[in-house]
Symmetry: C2
Subunit: 182 residues, 2 copies
């Protein structure tokens, strides 16, 4: 969902970094500070969200931010320090949809290697069809399966989570899914 | 598994950062650069590993690095950019144990909120009882359940993964586990 700018300066002392394999047995090139020796690690990030359900309908949010302004998404965003994956998924559902819901089980884990992200979706049971979306959302709306705007979905992982959800519902049982997105 | 040092300088231009809530609708304090405006996000990291099994025995590695030097662990480490969670778990199993194995299903996801980490363990089926551990490991060894050195296990998530594994084995079926570690 975003491109990472290259690290140019040391976060500890501000000196310009060099890219090399550290001397500690590491095998990867890192941004290393030639002054204070700080090694800057860059690692994948978790995106956490929900599949919020009310009866036979699923909640989608129309994005009011880039990227993919105006496209539909499940409530999801970057996991923060000080929260669990489920906490983060619930927080995003409040922030983006202003929904009232009960959190369910972890439903899908998807690797999006190209952008260094892992996406985690939980099932959530909506308690009401009234929403109060925040500034990141133009509109929060419930969709029956045959109303889903498949060509207007913001992200591949959202499309896959919806596809798994409807497949499982047809099969009469929800299971945990792991997928790698190319 | 590590403490994060506070960001003091901008990674883009080297200027000393200030901690404040950015003006973009964010609600959290971030390290913001007063010169170029770069916002520095800090997010939880994924630790990926395996529960490597040969018949009735599980492979543990005696740590040759801090923290917890000399304690026993499952092969695991920080997920890197350019790999999936399963790729990372397999890489750590090669690096720390030099094991030959077939990767299995995702077995456990554990939130370790206190240190901003999510630990993911996959099942792995060992193909041989010969190991060639790297520099991070003093010894790689197979343990029957009643031989597991429970008081000498390096990390709480490793203990929980082993506990779930042996419980599931007794129950005759392996399922996916989610846990929050305090």
């Amino acid at each position: 969902m975003f491109e990472r700018p290259r690290i140019k300066h040391c976060k500890a002392c501000g000196t310009a970094v060099v890219y090399r394999v550290p001397d500690d047995g590491d095998t990867r090139e890192r941004a290393v500070c030639p002054a204070c020796g700080t090694i800057h690690y860059e690692n994948p990030l978790n995106v956490v969200g929900t599949v919020p359900v009310l009866g036979t309908r699923v909640l989608l949010c129309k994005r009011n931010i880039e990227p993919r302004w105006g496209k539909w998404t499940l409530p999801a965003g970057f996991m923060e320090l000080g929260e669990t994956t489920a906490d983060g998924a619930a927080r995003e559902t409040v922030e983006e949809a202003g929904a009232q819901f009960k959190m369910g089980e972890l439903f899908a884990l998807m690797n999006v290697m190209r952008v260094g992200q892992v996406h985690l979706f939980y099932l959530a049971e909506l308690q009401s069809d009234r929403f109060d979306p925040g500034h990141e959302t133009i509109e929060a709306r419930l969709f029956e399966e045959d109303e889903i705007p498949w060509d207007e979905i913001a992200f591949r992982t959202v499309r896959e989570a919806l596809r798994c959800f409807f497949e499982d519902r047809r099969a009469g049982r929800f299971q945990f899914h792991t997928l790698d997105i190319q």
